[in-house]
């Protein structure tokens, strides 16, 4: 079995990286917002919001994919809105794969950010306020830097989850080579075709390598940051 990758395999790897990176980047701002609301907010319906955020973690991925099809497909209410308002089409496009990946990774990102947010010493924020910083200034210069280990962890977890996303993707946007055939879908397609095992194995090795690198990077970054932010 040669380790050289065919063009189709390279396509799948490139697409997977693109989808996972976009999913990770675009879910960061809403994840920070939701984490803030859940950690610090006190309002009716907070438990409901918490539940909805965690749904993709608990629902079978195929169900999540089906819901995405109903909502964001060409005939879906949100799909039509995005197509008309922003020209953004999700059905059968890599943007749909990115959306599915982002939704599946969202609860993991929120949890990680919320955990580190709750560990932030509020007295430091109060001190900054007494020294004249506005709410936004406090957030930007005190809270955010202290949350950074959690944000990094959240980004890596979301990336890893997005990189491995299968069920929701294949149900929502099907398996289109070059457009929605990410690494897991390509591995699946190769395992279904007779004689596709060498390609499936190669892609599995790549998958493991990428995931391990992401996890190691996250661990190193988190440790470095923790050392920097530790009380002197």
């Amino acid at each position: 079995m040669t380790l050289a990758l065919t063009p189709e395999e390279l396509d799948a790897i490139r697409l997977s990286l693109r989808v996972a990176l976009w999913a990770m980047a675009c879910s960061l701002p809403p994840a920070v917002l939701v984490a803030l609301v859940l950690a610090r907010g006190r309002f009716w319906g907070k438990a409901l919001l918490d539940g909805i955020v965690h749904l993709p973690l608990v629902l079978p991925p195929v169900v999540t994919g089906y819901l995405l099809l109903l909502l964001f497909g060409r005939q879906g209410p949100l799909g039509r809105f995005f197509a008309e308002a922003f020209g953004l089409v999700f059905a059968f496009r890599w943007t749909g794969a990115a959306l599915a990946a982002a939704i599946m990774g969202f609860p993991l990102m929120v949890r990680a950010i919320r955990l580190s947010l709750e560990a932030v010493d509020r007295r430091l924020e109060a001190a900054a306020a007494t020294l004249g910083a506005g709410a936004l200034g406090v957030f930007a210069t005190v809270t955010l830097p202290l949350m950074l280990p959690g944000i990094i962890a959240g980004l890596i977890l979301s990336f890893a989850r997005s990189f491995g996303e299968f069920g929701a993707t294949i149900t929502f946007v099907s398996n289109i080579p070059g457009e929605t055939e990410t690494l897991p879908l390509a591995i699946y397609a190769f395992t279904q075709a007779p004689g596709g095992d060498p390609m499936a194995l190669r892609l599995t090795l790549v998958s493991v390598a990428v995931s391990m690198s992401a996890l190691l990077a996250a661990e190193l970054l988190a440790r470095r940051l923790a050392r920097k932010l530790a009380p002197a």
């Binding site: 099809l69 109903l70 497909g73 060409r74 005939q75 059905a91 059968f92 294949i170 149900t171 099907s174 398996n175 289109i176 397609a189 395992t191 279904q192 075709a193 007779p194």
Partner: protein, 264 residues
């Protein structure tokens, strides 16, 4: 973090021991000796009816697992404990036969089917004349043609063969939405996500949200045959009885009701 108290460790150890003791030494098989049938996704409605009739006639249960024939064949090759396999094409049955995973004396062709072009019923679609060189790419517009994955799933392979024979494949090869199985392709058309799809006639009949707009001539693709066989791994004595039941009048009526052609 302090080490957990002894009691907690003892409970965990006991739970682990219990789980290991209860884990079956043999591969899992269907409970209470019921038959496990791996069947192509397109057989869902028909075989459910047949299995209900089987349960009533013989008092024994048959449980069916539906997926693309490619997925099922690979699972059987990996050791899945199916008693029977009903494939949607000969290739995947040949795949298992080559690996000596089916009993060759029990293999026979059970059913036939036809390939149709469908569109969402809500669009009130106009009929399409399926002839060599028909303008499928034009009809698709900026939408995609939903079909089972042409690389491995029988319904997709038949569809690709038909489009190739009609000289249309090259124009639409880049506009396909390959689905995991024929029922997933049917869903895409039923939801209106894909303007057209290629499925079996029996699938179109089972789904009220799609309308048949054209039929592929039988000469344009290899004959659609559903072979059935008992697996070599099967230890269930009911397998032979179930196989015979598949050819009984009750079963034939159920298959015909869904639109399948029953082969002699």
């Amino acid at each position: 973090m302090s080490t957990p108290p002894r009691a907690v460790l003892a409970v965990l150890g006991l739970a682990a021991a219990l789980l290991l003791a209860l884990a079956p030494a043999a591969p899992a098989r269907a409970e209470d000796g019921s038959l496990l049938v791996f069947a192509a996704a397109s057989l869902k409605n028909a075989l459910d009816a047949v299995d209900a009739a089987y349960a009533k006639a013989s008092g024994r249960k048959a449980v069916a697992s539906y997926a693309a024939s490619s997925a099922l064949a690979k699972q059987i090759a990996a050791g899945a404990p199916a008693d029977l396999f009903i494939s949607a094409d000969e290739d995947w049955m040949d795949y298992l036969a080559a690996r000596r995973l089916i009993e060759p004396t029990t293999r026979s062709d059970l059913l036939g089917n036809a390939l149709v072009l469908v569109a969402p019923a809500a669009n009130h679609p106009a009929p399409v004349a399926i002839a060599p060189g028909f303008p499928l790419a034009l009809l698709l517009g900026d939408g995609r043609l939903a079909m089972a994955d042409p690389k491995s799933v029988p319904a997709g392979k038949y569809g690709k063969a038909a489009l190739e024979r009609l000289g249309v494949w090259a124009t639409v090869a880049g506009r396909i939405a390959p689905a995991a199985n024929v029922r997933a392709a049917l869903l895409l058309v039923a939801r209106g996500e894909a303007p057209y799809g290629i499925v079996y006639r029996t699938d179109a009949a089972a789904e009220p949200e799609v309308a048949i707009v054209g039929s592929f001539p039988a000469a344009s693709h290899p004959p659609i045959l559903y072979p059935v066989a008992v697996t070599t791994a099967s230890k269930n004595p009911d397998a032979a009885r179930y196989l015979a039941f598949l050819r009984s009048d009750a079963a034939r009526a159920a298959f015909r009701a869904q639109g399948f052609t029953v082969l002699e």
